[in-house]
Structures are given as C-alpha cells and as structure tokens.
C-alpha cells in the first residue's frame, strides 16, 4: 500500500461531517494528494457515520482500515472503531468521548470549551477544520476563502466569526508537535475535487443529457440533485416521477420525442423498471440508466456498498435484446463513459447502463481537467421523408431513427412485434427478422468496445481483474506490492464483453477476480462469454468496501 496519512472523523448524522469533509478535501487537496470515502447509516440524525481522508504523496483512491488521526465528535463515535485503532493512532476527543475504549494515543481536544469561549457552539466544526488545517499546515488564505464561500449566504459578522474560529483552531493544533507523516506535493495543474456522482453528472451533461425523470433512492438520488442544480444552465428538464416505472417510461418518451434522457436509480428501483427496459429493447428507443448499487436483496443496507446487481443489469427485462453496461472506477472514466453512454444509446438505439455503487459515488477524488470530446454529442436522429419506415430492414441492424414533427414522415413505434412501418404483426418471418435485427447489433456494439485498461507490468504472470469501484484498490495494490509480475485488468465495459479480454487472461498463469458481491458475478460472465477460467474470486459482501490492508492480506493467501 501507498505511504499515506489517514484522518478519520467519526460522528452522528447531522453533526456536519459532510461540510468538514468538503472543506478539508478542498484545502488539503491543493497541497497533497487526497482521497476521501465515507460510510453512513440509513438515518437522518444520530447513529454513527465516519469520513476518512487519506493524504498521500502520490494519487490514492482506496479505503484504508487503519487510522492515523481519529477525531471523535461525540460520546458514541468510538463504538465501531476499536478494530481500526492501532497503538500509533492519535485520538482527538473530549475526555468523556473516550470512555470504555482502550488503544491508541489520546490527545484531549475540547472543542466544546473552545467554542464556548468563542461564544457559540455552532463554531465547533469551523474550529475543528482549523485544528486539522493546523496539523496539516494548510494555507490559511485558501481555507479562509473556502469558509467565506461556504457561508456566503450568511451575515458578514457570522462569516467573520467563523474565520476567527478557524484561526483559533489552527492555532491550537499548531502548538502541538503532531505533524502528519506525509510530505506535501505541488500539483502541476490544480485538481478538481469531485465525487463519483458529480463525475457521472458531468458525463451526462457532456453527453447532451437534457432530460431526467427519476424517483429518489439512495445512493442514486445525488445525481438527480446534481442535474437539478444545473437544470437551468444546461437546459435539463428535471422530473421527480411518481414511481420508477413512470421514470423509465417517461425517459423513453423523452428520447422518442428527441431528447437525451437519463434515469437514476438503485437495484430495487431498477427491478421495477425492467419491463420498460424491455420496451426500450423492442422499440429500439435509446435510454441511459444509472444504477447505483447498494447491498440487497430488497431494502438490504440502503446506505452501504455492494456490486451485487451486475447480473440484474445483464439479464434485466423479459425477452432477448442487446444492451451496454459501463462500470467506471475513477472520475475521468465516469465522465467519459457516461458521455459515451448517450452517444452509444443514440447510435445503436439500445439501453445503456452505468453501474456504480455507494462507495464510488460518495468517495471524493481529485481529477485533472481534460478537454471533452465533441463527437459524442453527434445526433443520429434523421429528418424523415414521406416514405419513412421506423424499422426499415434494409438498414439492418440499425434503422435510422426519426422523431415526431421532424420531417414529413410519421414515426410509429410499437411494443408488439412490428412491421418495418411499426405496425403490429404476427408474421413469423417478420418476427424473426426483427429479432435478428435487434440482436445483431451486439457485434456492432463490440466494434465500439471500450477497451479494458491494464495496470502494472506487461509481462505479468498473475492477473487481477476488477470492475467499477474496486479500481483504486487494485491499482494501489499492484503499484505497491513487492510481488512482481502482478497486473491489474480494469474492465470498464462489463457487457457485452470483448474477446480482447480473453487474451489478457490467457497470458496469465493465475487469474483472480475481485468483486463486492457474494457470488462472483463478473467471474461468471467471463467464464460464460470468454471461457476465462478464474482461479480465485476475492469477494466481500458485508456492505463495506475492501480496505487496502485487508486486500493485501487476502492476496498474500491467494497468490500462487
């Protein structure tokens, strides 16, 4: 694992962890490589949530179990953390918060008293921000600007008091002799701090998305919120649907009429959309669907993480029809793949799914800005003429797609098996031609395959395959392990799978697959579609992501 320094904040829902995380990430991000992840309970107030911020000299994007500095925000904040505290861990807390726990190195920190001295308990978080800024030696100006921005809506006097609280906190820790064990970096270009959700949202905007109809469901809702906030600036019609069934049917209606729509949901909501997915399939109406995974079955663990819905996505909907599934593992990819999702949906007239999970969506990464491609904005919509046939077989397998009101033709779209014109038919031959037309798109789709990324030595003998949110974990592992010849194949297009993946596997003596589920769903697809023999599936399905330490330990056992 990489040399890094890990700060964990532990508190209740409602104690402002999110704000603290944002402020620290934004300020520390200018002087370090940073990565933050969180785990939250399914409740609005109370309980116990934690935020972990890793600082490093090189990019990191994996969850670390052991904690360097731990900040406890209340008297039960320690309860679930004993196993993560080492002898070297410094625990910052009020005396009373530590009761009943052993381990670590205690550093009393009475934020309440300090806030009281400043005259207002609401300054606790700004004090703490300052305290941490002091430890990390963060640029005071930057931090001040962040605070002023964050509280811009408040009265100047309150902003001033917050700045004072910050300085107070910073001063308090500067007096301590507890610097982090990590060097600062200077980034050649300023990096954008963003979480997985924002990356998907940016990708949607970059893909020309101008319609979203969705029903709230953790952890997918944040994308709906992101697009709501950019709706006016980017001409996006945002609709909170009455249920998930409406959401996807509306999205299909929007594409039919010429918009580019996305729907965001989680496994349970997506289960309700499957009939409509099948409608997308037979009518050849494009759709982009963001599935934010969380542990199932049913309600499961609503705010935790899992990669348990790959099969669901691959096999969703009755009948047989093509689809594309992307599973981004880092922000640039989330932007690019989501953008591409709109392009491919339009080009091949198929549903395209973006499969993420709670861990990825809520994690904060750093991303260097990059120029966006214009090509994915290309519209494949045609102007119709009088003789227009929506399902013209001569254009097998992709008939040009018209939209109503654009040209002289009529656009007739039917969920029954249909003729070239789009009218219901029960002709057996036409049925077969239409079914073939739809399924034959898969070979074209594979020509556009989004290649997997190999990380590590080209001359590997051990290949670790992972998808989606395990990217940062496995990348860190292969880049830091002392085992040589271990490489990581990051599959970002998980369906349909391309033969090129097989070649990577064939070159290895041992193939491992890493997944956050109990049954090894990608491993099964690799076997089924590419005859890849997976030697070992490294699986975790308790609702937590792998930690880098845990992963190292498992691999020690698993590697030949």
């Amino acid at each position: 694992m990489r040399n890094s320094f890990t700060i964990v904040l532990s508190g209740e829902a409602g104690q402002g962890l999110q704000t603290l995380e944002d402020l620290i990430m934004a300020s520390a991000g200018e002087e370090y490589h940073v990565y933050s992840s969180k785990e939250i309970m399914s409740r609005v107030r109370g309980g116990n949530n934690t935020v972990e911020i890793r600082l490093a000299t090189e990019p990191v994007a994996a969850y670390q179990e052991t904690i360097d500095y731990l900040f406890l925000l209340n008297d039960h904040a320690y309860d679930r953390l004993d196993s993560r505290v080492q002898d070297s861990t410094v625990i910052f807390a009020e005396e009373s918060f530590l009761k009943g726990h052993e381990g670590g190195h205690k550093q009393l920190l009475s934020l309440r008293a300090m806030a009281k001295a400043l005259g207002n308990p609401i300054y606790i978080n700004t004090l703490l921000f300052g305290y941490i800024a002091g430890i990390l030696d963060l640029n005071q100006g930057t931090c001040h600007d962040l605070i002023s921005d964050r509280f811009a809506a408040l009265k100047p006097a309150i902003i001033a008091s917050n700045l004072k609280a910050f300085d107070e906190g910073r001063r308090a820790s500067s007096d301590l002799d507890l610097p982090p064990t990590i060097r600062k970096t200077s980034h050649p270009v300023p990096l954008k701090i963003l979480n997985g959700t924002t990356a998907v949202g940016l990708g949607a905007l970059a893909g020309g998305c101008n319609y979203i109809s969705s029903y709230p469901m953790s952890p997918s809702t944040a994308l709906l919120v992101f697009l709501s906030n950019h709706a006016r600036d980017f001409d996006v019609l945002v609709e909170q649907a009455e249920d998930e069934i409406a959401a996807l049917n509306m999205t299909l209606g929007a594409w039919y009429a010429g918009a580019r729509g996305i729907v965001t949901t989680s496994g349970g909501g997506f289960a309700l959309m499957e009939e409509a997915l099948s409608l997308s399939g037979i009518t050849e109406t494009p759709a982009v669907i963001h599935i934010a995974q969380r542990p199932g079955p049913a309600t499961g663990l609503p705010t935790r993480t899992e990669q348990g819905d790959l099969n669901l996505a691959v096999y969703a909907g009755h009948g047989e029809f093509p689809r594309i599934i992307f599973a981004p593992g880092y922000p640039e990819d989330a932007v690019r793949l989501t953008q591409k999702a709109f392009y491919l949906a339009d080009k091949y007239q198929v549903p395209v799914m973006i499969l993420t999970d709670q861990y990825f969506l809520d994690a904060n990464f750093q991303m260097a800005p990059f120029p966006l491609e214009e090509a994915p904005l290309e519209s494949f919509v045609v102007k119709t003429d009088k003789a227009y046939l929506r399902y013209r077989l001569a254009d097998h397998p992709v008939s040009p797609r018209g939209i109503p009101g654009h040209g002289e033709g009529l656009v007739k779209v039917d969920s029954d098996e249909h003729t070239e014109e789009g009218l219901i038919t029960e002709d057996f031959d036409v049925r077969q031609l239409m079914n073939d037309k739809r399924l034959d798109k898969e070979s074209l789709i594979l020509e556009d395959y989004q290649a997997a990324e190999l990380i590590g030595p080209e001359d590997y003998d051990t290949l670790i395959i992972a998808w989606g949110s395990n990217y940062g974990l496995v990348k860190e592992y292969v880049e830091t392990t002392d085992r040589d010849k271990v490489a990581f194949l990051y599959i970002k297009q998980v369906f349909p799978l391309h033969d090129s993946i097989r070649d990577y596997a064939l070159a290895a003596r041992q193939v491992l697959v890493v997944e956050n589920n109990a049954t090894g769903q990608l491993a099964a697809l690799l076997k089924l579609h590419l005859d890849i023999k997976v030697d070992d599936a490294v699986l975790k399905y308790n609702g937590e992501p792998f930690s880098i330490e845990e992963f190292e330990a498992i691999l020690k056992e698993a590697l030949l």
Partner: protein, 283 residues
C-alpha cells in the same frame, strides 16, 4: 382520404360491433375538424383493445406497455410542447395497471388529452373484471360476481384538480367528436372517459344499457362549479354525459417547468455547449 385515415385495406383487430370503431370515427373526425397535421400529432398508448387505437389512426405514435401510456405522453409533450399529444387506452390500462400515473399526472396538468375507453371489462385478455366493472358482474375470474366498488375516474380527477373532466359515449359519434375536440383544444390535462360497449365480453353494460343509463348534460350546466361537478360524477343510473368540469387558464406542466421559464424553445431544439461543462470540471 382524410389525412388521419388509414389505408382502406387496414385489418382492424376489433370485434365486429365493438364501440371502439365509433370512437375511432369520432377521433379521426375530431382531428380532421381541428385541421391538425398528422406529422405534428403524437398518440401514446398502453396495451389493450382500446390501446390499439394508434394502430388505426395515421399519425405518430408510441404504443408502449400496458398501463404506461401517460408517462410517455407527458414526457413527449414536455420535451416538445409544439406537438399535440393524446394518450389513449382502456379502463384496465389507464385506471388499473396505470392508476398511479393517472392520479399523479392530474397533479402535473400537462397539456395533453386523455381518452379512456370505459367498457367496464378487460377486453383483450378476454373478459376479466376491470376497475370500473359494476358490483355483481360475473366474469371468468369473478365467478361469483365482482365484489369491489367500481373506480370512479371522474370523481378522482375532479378531486385532484383536473382542469377538464368529461364523459362521452361511443354510441353518439357527433357528441363524442365535440368532446374530443374540446379535450384536445383544452389547455391542460383533459380527461375524457368514454363509455364503450364490449360486445364480446360485457353482456351487462351493453349498447342498450349505456343508452338507457346515460343522459346528456344540459347546456346550462355550470361546468366551473367543482362541488356540482363532483355531485354529477357520483350520479349513476343514469350517468351524465358531457363536460362535467372545466376550468380555464391554469398553468400547464410545461409552462411551469423551470426549463421553460426563461426560454420557450422546445427542449429538443436547444444546443449543449461543452465549454460550459468543461468549466464545471475545473477547480
């Protein structure tokens, strides 16, 4: 040939004598009298005998899933408000499977016309009770007779503030044509529930029954009075026909949508600039 008429060879899959034929006649007549351009009209529908209507009207259509005609309609209208949008289907389709979309689209008030063929039966699936089947009606599934109270679409629509609520009868094509035109031209969500005999499966609510159990609302009925309209919606045996309730000039869903506040251009005609997205990507 009227622009919305189909080729005369078209094989229409309804039973001879079905009220759906008359509804089709009225619809084509209404569209023609309104002088609409078929390329600028979109019909959406679900699945059922009624929901086959778009197959037999020469215009754009999206014939979707059972119960899901309304979500398609509201979406089409909202991304391109310049189109005329009609959602059509049966009582099972629109009030049963699609009941949730029914109640929530009333709340949206999209500028669409909603035509529901109310034959008080599931026709296409061969005669099970529908949400509007009368209590006591025997069917292949309700072998001892329907036990649940019939759904009252008009009362629900009025309760939820629908801006146009009417009932027609397939047996009176001229009156139905007038109602259809009124619904299509009404600004906002317009519900037109259409009594329609199913000659194959509904032996209770026959053409004759509908004739004997309906009456035409008087000219002087005050369709702006909500409580009166509700009282009418509760009337049965006979059931009133006509516009029970209508209020004008309520803002529509498309008008209220933030995306149309500063700019009325249909969404699908606007351009995305990547530079603005790139700006969001820089710290």
């Amino acid at each position: 040939m009227k622009p919305f008429e189909m080729h005369p060879n078209t094989d229409i899959a309804w039973c001879p004598g079905c009220g759906d034929f008359s509804i089709r006649k009225a619809l084509i007549q209404a569209l023609t009298e309104l002088d609409l351009d078929p390329t600028r009209v979109v019909m959406t529908s679900g699945i059922g005998q009624a929901a086959k209507m778009p197959q037999y009207v020469n215009t754009n259509f999206f014939n979707g899933l059972h119960g899901r005609g309304l979500p398609l309609a509201v979406a089409v209208k909202s991304v391109n408000p310049s189109l005329t949008v009609i959602a059509e289907g049966g009582d099972g389709d629109m009030y049963g499977e699609g009941g949730n979309h029914f109640i929530h689209n009333i709340r949206r008030n999209p500028d669409i016309a909603h035509f529901v063929h109310n034959n008080m039966i599931y026709g296409l699936t061969q005669g099970q009770g529908s949400p509007t089947s009368p209590v006591g009606q025997k069917t292949t599934v309700q072998v001892e007779g329907v036990i649940n109270e019939p759904f009252n679409p008009l009362a629900v629509a009025i309760s939820l503030g629908a801006t146009f609520v009417a009932r027609g009868f397939s047996g009176d094509i001229p009156a139905l044509t007038v109602l259809m035109k009124a619904a299509i031209t009404h600004k906002g969500y317009a519900l037109l529930d259409i009594f329609q005999p199913c000659v194959s499966f509904n032996k209770v609510n026959t053409f004759k029954w509908y004739q004997e159990n309906t009456y035409i609302l008087q000219e002087n009925h005050d369709s702006g009075d909500r409580m009166k309209a509700l009282a009418l919606a509760f009337e049965k045996d006979p059931y009133p026909l006509g516009i029970l309730y209508q209020v004008e000039n309520r803002p529509t869903y498309e008008e209220k949508a933030p995306v149309y506040q500063a700019d009325k251009t249909p969404l699908i005609h606007r351009q995305r600039r990547l530079t603005a997205v790139e700006a969001l990507m820089t710290p």
